[in-house]
C-alpha cells in the first residue's frame, strides 16, 4: 500500500492567505457533470481548499423506499445512478432475495451477470468520453457513444428501456434473455475488442493525455480506506478490492476474471483500471455466454412479499465502486428502512483532502477520473 504522504501533489499550497479568492465552480459548470458545486478557495490557479457542496438533485430515495412495497421500490433503484442502473437494481433485488431466502434460477443469474457487465462497459464509456471532454478532447465521447449505442440497443431490445432498465425482479428477471440478445452480445464483444484498441491508440497512448493524467491527483490506498472510496479509485491505488471477489454474489465465483490494479495511485492509474475493466468485462461476458443454461428465468416468489424482521445487506460492484443496500424490515409488506450506500458519495468525500494544492485544470482532471455521477451522490 502506498501511504498518502509518499505521494506529493504536483504543485504547492499557496502561502499568502490574504491573496486568495473564492471561486464557485458550479452548480452550472461544464466540468461539473450536472449539478455538483465546488467552492474553491484559490490562490491564483492553485487550489487551497475545495469544498464540494452537494444535494442539488437530492430526491430522498430512502424515504420513498419507506412508503411503498418492496417491489414498488424497484423502479427507483434504476434512477439513483442512471449510468449503472443494472447494478443498483441487482443490489436491491439481491438484498430482498437474501432476506426472504428466494432462490434465483441459474439462467437468471447468468443473465444478470451479462447485463450487469454490459452496463459496466456502457458506464465506463460515458466516463471515458466525459473525462476527455473535461480534458478538452471532443471527439472521443462520440466514438464512445457510437459503441455504447450498440449496448443500449441490445438492452433496449431485451428489456425495453435504454437507461433505467429495471430489468431484475425478485427471484429472477423481468423477461427471458432471448437468442437474439445472446447472439447480439456475442457480436458486440467481437466488435468492441478492436474498438478498445482504437481507444488505446487514439487516447490512452496520446502524449497529451498521459501528461495530463500521470502523477495528477494522487489518492493513496490509505486515503481510500479512510474515506471509503472504492471501485476503480481504490484499485487505481493498488488494492485489489472488488466486491465481486470480496463478497461474492450471483455467479461471479464461477467466472474467471482478473481485477486490474495499478499501484501509481494517480489519475492515470484510475484511467487505466477502467480501460482494463472494459476488457475484463468482455471476458466475463464471453464466459457467461458460454455457460448460460436453459431453464426458467423467474424463481418462486410469494405473491405478497413480507420479509423477516431484521436487517440485511447486499453489496455489488457497481461501475463506480461498492454499492450497498441495507434493508431493515419489521415484518411488514413495506420496508422499514432502505439505506443506499452509493460509491460516488464516498469517492467524492475525499476530494477536499486530495485536491489540496492542485492547480485548477488538474483538480478537474482528477474529478473526472473519480467518475462522479451526481444523482448517485445526492440520491
Amino acid at each position: 500500500m502506498i501511504a498518502h504522504k509518499d505521494l506529493v501533489p504536483l504543485g504547492r499550497v499557496g502561502d499568502s492567505p490574504q491573496e486568495t479568492f473564492v471561486l464557485n465552480l458550479g452548480p452550472q459548470h461544464p466540468a461539473a457533470h450536472g449539478v455538483l458545486r465546488v467552492l474553491l478557495t484559490m490562490d491564483g490557479e492553485w487550489i487551497q481548499r475545495a469544498e464540494p457542496i452537494i444535494g442539488y438533485i437530492h430526491r430522498m430515495h430512502e424515504k420513498m423506499g419507506e412508503n411503498r412495497t418492496w417491489a414498488k421500490f424497484l423502479p427507483n433503484t434504476s434512477r439513483i445512478d442512471y449510468l449503472s442502473a443494472m447494478h443498483y437494481t441487482h443490489a436491491f433485488v439481491g438484498a430482498v432475495e437474501r432476506a426472504a431466502k428466494i432462490e434465483v434460477p441459474l439462467r437468471a443469474e447468468y443473465a444478470r451477470v451479462i447485463t450487469s457487465e454490459l452496463n459496466r462497459i456502457s458506464s465506463h464509456m460515458v466516463w471515458w468520453g466525459a473525462l476527455l471532454l473535461d480534458l478538452g478532447g471532443f471527439t472521443p465521447i462520440l466514438y464512445a457513444f457510437d459503441d455504447r449505442e450498440k449496448i443500449l440497443d441490445l438492452l433496449e431490445a431485451l428489456c425495453g428501456a435504454r437507461l433505467t432498465y429495471c430489468y431484475y425482479r425478485f427471484g429472477g428477471l423481468y423477461n427471458d434473455v432471448d437468442d437474439a440478445f445472446l447472439k447480439g452480445t456475442r457480436d458486440f464483444v467481437a466488435h468492441l475488442r478492436p474498438r478498445l484498441k482504437m481507444y488505446r491508440d487514439l487516447v490512452t497512448d496520446n502524449i497529451i493525455l498521459r501528461k495530463r493524467l500521470t502523477g495528477i491527483g494522487p489518492i493513496s490506498a490509505d486515503l481510500c480506506r479512510r474515506y471509503g472510496a472504492t471501485g476503480p479509485v481504490i484499485r487505481g491505488a493498488g488494492v485489489a478490492y472488488d466486491v465481486r471477489r470480496a463478497e461474492p454474489y450471483s455467479v461471479y465465483p464461477k467466472l474467471d476474471f482478473k481485477i486490474p490494479t495499478y499501484s501509481e495511485a494517480d489519475s492515470m492509474a484510475r484511467y487505466l483500471v477502467r480501460m482494463d475493466e472494459m476488457e475484463e468485462s468482455l471476458h466475463i461476458i464471453e464466459q457467461a455466454l458460454d455457460q448460460i443454461p436453459t431453464g426458467p428465468f423467474l424463481g418462486k416468489v410469494p405473491r405478497v412479499l413480507k420479509l423477516p424482521v431484521g436487517d440485511t445487506c447486499y453489496a455489488v460492484e457497481a461501475a463506480r465502486g461498492r454499492f450497498m443496500v441495507r434493508i431493515v424490515s419489521d415484518g411488514k409488506e413495506i420496508p422499514y428502512r432502505v439505506k443506499l450506500r452509493t460509491p460516488s458519495f464516498s469517492n467524492l468525500s475525499l476530494y477536499e483532502e486530495a485536491s489540496k494544492g492542485m492547480i485548477l485544470p488538474d483538480a478537474l482532471a482528477m474529478m473526472g477520473s473519480l467518475d462522479l455521477v451526481i444523482p448517485d451522490i445526492d440520491r
Partner: protein
C-alpha cells in the same frame, strides 16, 4: 495485516473492558448507556456481513479505532428510527479492502436526545456520512465540525427519515 474473524471478535469484546470514554470530544454529553459490548458473528450468506457489534454510544470512537487498527475502511454511517422503542440506532458499516470481512457496529441512542461522538477523527470519510445522518435523522454527532444541512436545502430544519415526520 488481515485480521481473522476470531481476532476481531476478541478486539471488539475488549471494548467492554476498556474505558468508555471517547478519545476526544465532550464525553459528558453522552448518556451513559450500557457499556456492555455484544459481539455476534453472523452468517454472511444470510445477512451480508460477518460481525455484528452492538456498542454504547460512548464506545463508538473506540470501536472505530479498533476497526481502523484492523485495516477496515468506512463504508457508511446511517440511522434507523425505532419509534416504538423510542430509540434511534446508528449503524456504522465497515469494509475491509484486503480481506473479505464486513463489520457492522451499532449504537442506540435515546430518541429524545440523539447524540453521540463523531468518529471523524478516526475516519475522515465519516464526516460526510455523519452530516447525512444528521440531515435525515437529526442525530447530533458531537465534534463534527460541519453539521449543517448537506443533502437537504440549506435552510432545512426538518429530518425526513424520522418515522413521525410529516411533510
Amino acid at each position: 495485516m488481515n485480521p481473522t474473524l476470531e481476532q476481531l471478535t476478541e478486539h471488539f469484546k475488549g471494548l467492554t473492558a476498556a474505558a468508555a470514554v471517547p478519545a476526544d470530544g465532550p464525553a459528558e454529553s453522552v448518556s451513559p448507556t450500557p457499556v456492555l459490548v455484544v459481539v455476534q458473528a453472523v452468517d454472511f450468506a444470510l445477512k451480508g456481513f460477518h460481525l455484528d457489534v452492538a456498542v454504547g454510544p460512548a464506545q463508538v470512537v473506540a470501536a472505530a479505532e479498533v476497526a481502523d487498527r484492523a485495516g477496515f475502511g468506512i463504508d457508511s454511517i446511517t440511522g434507523v428510527d425505532w419509534l416504538a422503542q423510542n430509540e434511534m440506532e446508528v449503524v456504522y458499516d465497515f469494509f475491509h479492502p484486503t480481506s473479505p470481512l464486513r463489520v457492522v457496529v451499532r449504537a442506540r441512542v435515546p430518541r429524545g436526545s440523539p447524540e453521540l461522538p463523531t468518529i471523524g477523527g478516526v475516519f475522515p470519510g465519516a464526516n460526510w456520512h455523519e452530516r447525512e445522518t444528521h440531515d435525515f435523522f437529526g442525530i447530533r454527532f458531537t465534534g463534527n465540525p460541519n453539521l449543517k444541512p448537506f443533502l437537504l436545502p440549506e435552510d432545512a430544519t426538518f429530518h425526513p427519515l424520522l418515522k413521525d415526520y410529516k411533510p
